[in-house]
């Protein structure tokens, strides 16, 4: 089992959600987030004074999938979220030791 965390543009959330559902991802967690990568935000100008806004609104999608599904899920996210411009976001993948369904105590991949 692996966890995929994708930080994406808020406008791409629907496309990413649809792409993941299409390849069979059942559950996901969506978080509203703020942050920046290498581009370091943007500047706003009010009456000649510049203000740099370095934490931009983003959306973080978290899913946990079986090892076999990781590549498909990553490809789905990339193809749905990519605009080719700066600020498209990042994907992080990490190992998951255990998953437990609270309702009936199921454990492992069956709980996903």
């Amino acid at each position: 089992m692996q966890k995929i965390e994708a930080v994406i543009q808020p406008s791409k959330l629907d496309a990413v959600k649809d792409a993941l559902v299409e390849i069979g991802v059942d559950g996901m967690t969506i978080l509203e987030a703020r942050g920046h990568g290498r581009q370091k935000g943007h500047t706003e100008v009010y009456r000649g004074r510049e203000y740099s806004v370095d934490l931009l609104p983003k959306v973080k999608v978290e899913i946990v999938v079986t090892d076999a599904m990781v590549d498909g899920a990553v490809n789905a996210i990339i193809s749905a979220a990519r605009t080719g411009t700066i600020g498209d976001g990042k994907i992080f993948i990490s190992k998951i030791d255990e998953a437990i369904r609270i309702r009936n105590d199921e454990r492992g991949e069956i709980a996903l």
Partner: protein, 479 residues
């Protein structure tokens, strides 16, 4: 008894019944020259009586027409303070100061009204010397429903009084933009009370009051053209704002910490209300619903539009983008600059005044403030002080006797018509306004600072005025 009444009634009927034809017969009969002249004289008398009653009816209609316009204008000017300026300034501060800032304007609506009724109307418009009115009209004594021809012949004096009150409210409210986010509410009330009594009232008296030093309409010694308060309202408030901003010092963290406006949307709505309200401010200053009001209405609108274009263009060229805040700031700058000129210039001159003001105020706010480094938080000086001064000077250049022959029919009014002296008069008027504002404001600030302190504590400033001064928050996101 009843029989007597019936007898009298019958007698009357008889007289009318017999007398009617008798009179008609007399008229038909009376064709001698003497009788004809008598009848002509009575016809003339009748016509004269009818003409007099027509004139009275027309005067009454004019009075009610003028009065209607002036009451609407008074309400429009109050709208400039209430929602207009409060929203404009409220949006420009950080969100922890939105209520504190709006409250400062609202407090002026209450405080100045009471002061006006008690004493400051009398000091501004009562009989006095060249510099200040007297105490004869204290508690509005003698300010009734009959007009005072020295001010406005066709509206009740009370209408004039309440219209002028709205100017007295917005003027100190404009100053609050300079010391936003750091002044104690209690000290602000004391400061504004003194400012209204010792700076606004004398200045209004000098420019508009009976026998005022700068009153061009009533033979002041330095006849200064100020149609709707460029000098009285904008120069005094703008210059006092600058003095206050410097005296109080910069906000904590200024200019290191970012302090962008928390809602340009609020400011946008407020600025649009200011633009609408300004028609009451300027066109209402004709004090009647006649052609001069139309002229001032048109010039006001044209100047605002041209100034918005001026600011947008300057910003677009220098910073690469035309901002919404720039557009509304430009419009306000144009409205300020046209204020003294509104009833004296042609629509085309108004376009020029607006365009110049938009570009000029842009440089004052964006460049000059940065050069000198003062923290005029919301640019009360950059827009009102600078725009008002510019407008007063440009009035001396563009004033046109065809629009308003204030110095007599056919007599040159402004510099473009050949009256060079008027430019010097305008500069003189502005110089007096600057001097009184600087000296007076410094004295008041010094006294208030020594007695009760002007600034909130560092901790209170950090928390914001909403919480520290009023114990409430503008936006409670938890509910």
């Amino acid at each position: 008894m009843r029989i007597a009444v019936v007898k009298v009634f019958l007698a009357l009927l008889l007289v009318l019944g017999v007398g009617g034809p008798m009179l008609a017969g007399q008229q038909a009969f009376a064709q001698t020259p003497a009788a004809a002249s008598v009848s002509q004289a009575s016809r003339l008398a009748n016509l004269e009586k009818q003409a007099a009653s027509n004139t009275a009816a027309i005067a009454a209609a004019q009075t009610s027409g003028d009065n209607a316009w002036m009451l609407v204008s008074a309400a429009l000017v109050l709208m400039m303070s209430g929602p207009g300026l409060a929203l404009f300034y409220g949006g420009l501060v950080r969100k922890k100061n939105v209520l504190g800032t709006m409250m400062q304007t609202f407090a002026m609506m209450a405080l100045v009204t009471v002061l006006w009724a008690l004493v400051s109307y009398s000091l501004a418009f009562g009989q006095g010397n060249a510099f200040i009115g007297g105490f004869h009209n204290m508690f509005l004594h003698g300010v009734g429903l009959a007009p005072d021809p020295a001010y406005a012949a066709t509206i009740p004096l009370q209408t004039f009084m309440v219209y002028q009150l709205m100017f007295a409210i917005i003027t100190p409210a404009l100053i609050t933009g300079a010391f936003a986010e750091r002044m104690k509410f209690s000290s602000m009330l004391v400061f504004m009370t003194c400012w209204t009594l010792f700076i606004y009232s004398p200045m209004a008296h000098m420019v508009w009051g009976k026998g005022g030093l700068l009153n061009a309409a009533q033979g002041g010694r330095i006849p200064c053209l100020d149609f709707a308060g460029g000098t009285v309202v904008h120069v005094t408030s703008g210059v006092s704002a600058l003095v206050t901003a410097i005296f109080l010092g910069k906000r904590l963290g200024y200019p290191r910490e970012p302090m962008p406006p928390h809602s340009v949307v609020l400011s946008f709505v407020g600025a649009c209300m200011l633009w609408v309200g300004w028609f009451g401010f300027n066109a209402g200053s004709a004090l009647s619903a006649g052609t001069l009001a139309t002229s001032a209405f048109v010039t006001t609108h044209f100047a605002a539009a041209a100034a918005a274009i001026g600011w947008i263009a300057a910003e677009w060229i220098r910073q690469g983008k035309p901002s919404a805040l720039g557009a509304i700031s430009g419009a306000v700058a144009g409205l300020v600059a046209i204020t003294p000129a509104a009833g004296f210039v042609t629509p085309m001159s108004a376009l020029w005044i607006g365009l110049i003001a938009g570009i000029f105020c842009y440089f004052m706010v964006v460049k000059v403030k940065a050069w000198f480094g003062y923290d005029d938080s919301l640019d009360a000086f950059g827009v009102h002080g600078a725009g008002g001064t510019l407008g007063a000077v440009l009035t001396g250049i563009f004033a046109n006797s065809a629009i308003n022959p204030i110095f007599g029919a056919g007599k040159a009014t402004g510099l473009l018509e050949g009256n060079w002296r008027q430019l010097f008069n305008q500069i003189g008027g502005v110089a007096i306004a600057w001097s009184i504002s600087i000296v007076g404001t410094l004295i008041i600030l010094f006294v208030v600072d020594k007695t009760m302190g002007l600034r909130v504590s560092e901790e209170e400033e950090h928390d914001g005025l909403d919480l520290s001064q009023h114990g409430e928050e503008g936006y409670d996101w938890a509910h």
